[in-house]
């Protein structure tokens, strides 16, 4: 069980940016409660055919590694150096200038020197030098090399599951060294010897089987969507249509599964449903491709590809023209930067055209999948929906750019455009904490477990602190985000660091503001919170 987290003041006082005297290579890693994730369940590893499934835990002395584990990792290391230019170049060119050091949210929140991106990479680089460079082979420690031992492996496990692959360091690196790339390689290597965490492998196995991370079976999926349709009717008086697995629909809509199963994601789902109905979109959900997110990204190339394959396969089976994707962060890294390469070409689809505005989404000409922020901002731009931003006046909103849409896609203005049209009170957080410099929620890339809570609270400190700033200065009371992991992990984070600030999605705000044909007067917002009594009649 997770230990009760420290009090905020205690936690802050434990942060010391000055490193200890003892060199990091001589400091073995300790697995403190609250700062690591449990190992993956055996049956899930077996379901995915992953190597060396076994029962073990990070706190145990013996990790029951296969006998030839060093050989497996050495070979895997070489293999990846030959396959990824990024990996080879990033192993070679770091000058340790230290510009990245205080850019990592985990370093800022923990002060642990091995959470400086430069040292995180050195964990691998030291072994790289020892095994693959002449200087390292001859000079060893003097050249910054070291042998791969169990101690080093444990260090890898600890620190590469303390990186959320958010890419903030790569914005500041003069050579663009991206720790996300390095972490991805390290996690692949760990997987080769059966070292995985459950919060990644269980969702991945679920997704492979049922189509979504949560393991919701088709009838459960249908129930969830229908429940939302009923609820939306109660709130608005409008009965919407939400087809599932409908062949011949124009558009396949794929959202992260938390949207139809978790809160506050759920209100975003209501927003989607209301919007699609109002503009008369001919679309379908799919129970088979009922997950936009992809925990395979946090595991390995292969797992990512296996999970991602469903979207195109389903689009083909249903005969849709193109695919629309919901509010999700890492999902969009996969769709924007990987999907076409992994499972394309999508030549059975058409270049996406908005059936409502006629806008041709040329920027998705090849992948043929459009982000809902692009879709909705285009609707607003063309005045295709009637909006009453006054219905969000009880919210003073700020916006958290999710790491991946910001730094692996460049989706920066679209969400702001939408917010500005559906909310009257939008306040930005300080500039070093938004857009391309945005801070991770601290729980991304599969690290959002309860057992990892202390590390999450530490890693989330920079984000929460920026929220606190606008909360105190501008009375902000809701943090909007477009990522399912954010929506799941920011509420406990804010509860801890800055109570009284809620978390919501942008399409929740769209749903609130959307004036629907034939709707009843809205007495509450989508959360069921009553609007204040209106004076002098309605303002709609």
């Amino acid at each position: 069980m997770a230990e009760k987290p420290k009090k905020p003041q205690e936690l802050v006082q434990s942060i010391e940016y000055k490193p200890p005297r003892k060199r990091w290579m001589d400091t073995p890693v300790e697995f403190h409660k609250g700062t690591f994730n449990y190992s993956a369940a055996v049956d899930k590893l077996k379901y995915l055919d992953l190597p060396y499934p076994r029962k073990w835990q990070p706190t145990e002395e013996d990790w029951q590694l296969p006998d030839n584990w060093q050989e497996i990792i050495h070979k895997g290391f070489k293999d990846r150096l030959d396959k990824y230019r990024s990996f080879r170049v990033f192993m070679d060119i770091c000058v340790r200038c230290g510009a990245c050091a205080d850019k990592c949210h985990y370093f800022i929140g923990s002060g642990d020197p091995r959470n400086m991106p430069v040292l995180r990479a050195e964990l691998l680089r030291s072994v790289y030098r020892n095994d693959f460079t002449t200087a390292g082979k001859i000079l060893g420690g003097l050249a910054g090399g070291r042998k791969l031992t169990v101690k080093v492996l444990k260090e890898w496990f600890y620190y590469f599951y303390q990186c959320t692959e958010c890419r903030r360091c790569s914005v500041f690196c003069p050579y663009g060294i991206d720790t996300a790339e390095i972490t991805m390689m390290a996690r692949e290597l760990l997987n080769l010897v059966g070292l995985n965490i459950d919060w990644i492998c269980t969702p991945a196995a679920n997704c492979f089987r049922t189509g979504n991370h949560l393991g919701i079976q088709p009838h459960g999926f249908k129930d969830s969507i229908e429940f939302a349709v009923d609820e939306l009717e109660e709130l608005t008086g409008v009965r919407v249509n939400a087809p599932i697995n409908k062949k011949g629909a124009e558009i396949l809509f794929v959202a992260p599964s938390a949207d139809y199963f978790a809160s506050p994601h759920y209100y975003t789902l209501l927003g989607y449903l209301a919007l699609f109905h109002e503009v008369g979109l001919d679309y379908t959900w799919s129970s088979y491709a009922s997950e936009g997110g992809n925990f395979g990204l946090f595991h390995s190339y292969e797992t990512m590809k296996r999970l991602n394959s469903k979207i195109y396969m389903e689009a083909k089976r249903l005969g849709v023209k193109w695919v629309l994707g919901g509010e999700c962060g890492h999902m969009w890294r996969v769709i924007h930067q990987y999907m076409d390469t992994l499972n394309g070409p999508a030549d059975f689809l058409e270049v996406p055209v908005s059936p409502i505005t006629g806008t041709k989404f040329e920027h998705a000409r090849s992948t043929r999948m459009v982000h809902i922020m692009e879709f909705t901002s285009d609707l607003i731009r063309h005045n295709k929906i009637k909006l009453d931003p006054g219905r969000n006046d009880h919210w003073r909103v700020t916006f958290h750019d999710s790491c991946n849409p910001a730094r692996a896609m460049g989706l920066i203005e679209e969400p702001r455009y939408v917010i500005n049209h559906v909310c009257n009170n939008f306040i930005e957080m300080p500039e070093n904490t938004i857009k391309e410099q945005t801070f991770c929620c601290g729980s991304g890339s599969g690290l959002g477990t309860d057992e990892n809570m202390e590390m999450r609270l530490r890693g989330g400190l920079p984000r929460a602190n920026a929220v606190k700033f606008v909360h105190e200065k501008n009375d902000v009371n809701i943090l909007l985000c477009i990522c399912a992991i954010d929506k799941a992990t920011l509420p406990p984070l804010l509860e801890y660091w800055v109570p009284d600030v809620e978390v919501g999605g942008i399409h929740e705000m769209v749903g609130n503001a959307l004036v629907m044909t034939g709707e009843n007067e809205r007495l509450t917002d989508l959360r069921g919170t009553p609007y204040p009594e209106k004076e002098g009649g309605e303002n709609v």
Binding site: V89, I93, A99, F172, P174, G176, Q217, K222, D340, A406
Partner: protein, 330 residues
């Protein structure tokens, strides 16, 4: 340990020259053999590294986007920070390579009472790095005068510009001062900032000391002692014309300068100094953010075991039927 080892290593190199040239008298070795070997090893070493990088494919297009993507026509795209065409990529690379764009963004975090995290702008590393690299380049180019007769006009122009203020005799070059200042800064920050000291390896101190050694011997020769410039130029021309000569009367100081330069160039391809070439190979910087526009092909892509819709329906047909969901097979 790393610090003292590096300093000691450079001192040993200097002692080697002293023994080699002054005691044993191996002027031909230090004046001809080693320089020519250096040139060859540098070229081969760099080719080896660059070819090795180039042979590793780029399986995915993974630019780090630091600005707005090109999406809808009415949203202004940031072509330099999130390039959507070749010009954007070139512009981004030029800004990165010539002006250290990313380093210019640098901030320094501090944790104040509250708690309140503050991100202050800090441009010192950017400035120090920029001054170091640019003055090094100018100094390097100024040395062309030893390798060409007559000296090209543009080299002379650069030299005159560098000595613009005409202070001192011989005239003091601005870049010499800037170079020394930047080097001192880069070394001091490694020593003074505890985080930097913690991450620094011998591989970080050694090239710094080596370059400081080169700068100091060079400055001593130019400003404080008399060296036989005519002889030195004869020797330098000799390497290029493959007609090596070792004129008498060239002092030990010059051999020290030359030997350290050789060490730097030999060391180059096997060290972090490779960042000079590596920055051009960085996939997060040199690729356009055109991911959804143009398909990127992974040369080693292979097919994986997927879970097809048919398998899915086979497993869940009963519940799907009960829930009145459409089926492929009844």
């Amino acid at each position: 340990m790393h610090l003292f080892f590096s300093l000691a290593a450079v001192l040993v190199l200097l002692i080697l020259v002293f023994i080699g040239v002054d005691v044993v008298g191996w002027r031909y070795l230090f004046g001809v053999v080693i320089p020519i070997a250096t040139i060859i090893s540098f070229i081969l070493g760099m080719l080896y590294r660059v070819i090795k990088w180039a042979r590793s494919p780029v399986p995915f297009r993974i630019p780090t986007t630091c600005g707005q993507q090109k999406s809808l026509s009415w949203i202004k795209a940031g072509n330099l920070e999130s390039p959507h065409n070749i010009w954007g990529v070139l512009g981004r690379m030029v800004l990165e390579v010539l002006f250290f764009r990313s380093l210019f963004r640098n901030t320094k975090v501090s944790l104040k009472e509250g708690p309140r995290l503050v991100y202050g702008s800090t441009k010192w590393l950017w400035l120090g790095g920029l001054v170091f690299h640019w003055s090094f380049l100018v100094i390097f180019v100024r040395h062309f005068k030893f390798f060409a007769e007559p000296v090209p006009a543009w080299v002379m122009a650069l030299q005159n510009l560098d000595g613009f203020f005409q202070v001192g005799l011989p005239i003091i070059y601005l870049t010499d001062i800037a170079f020394l200042a930047a080097l001192t800064f880069l070394l001091l920050r490694r020593l003074v900032d505890p985080k930097l000291r913690y991450i620094s390896l011998a591989a970080d101190y050694f090239p710094l000391f080596l370059i400081i050694g080169i700068a100091v011997t060079g400055i001593l020769m130019r400003y404080f002692t008399k060296v036989d410039i005519v002889g030195i130029k004869e020797m330098a021309m000799g390497w290029l014309n493959l007609a090596p000569v070792v004129p008498a009367g060239i002092g030990t100081l010059f051999y020290m300068h030359l030997f350290l330069v050789c060490c730097l160039f030999i060391y180059f391809p096997f060290s972090k100094l490779l960042h000079m070439a590596g920055v051009f190979f960085s996939p997060t910087r040199n690729l356009a953010n055109t991911n959804r526009v143009k398909r990127h092909v992974n040369p080693w892509d292979y097919s994986v075991k997927v879970h097809t819709y048919e398998e899915y329906e086979d497993e869940f047909r009963d519940v799907m039927k009960a829930a009145e969901m459409p089926l492929e097979k009844e």
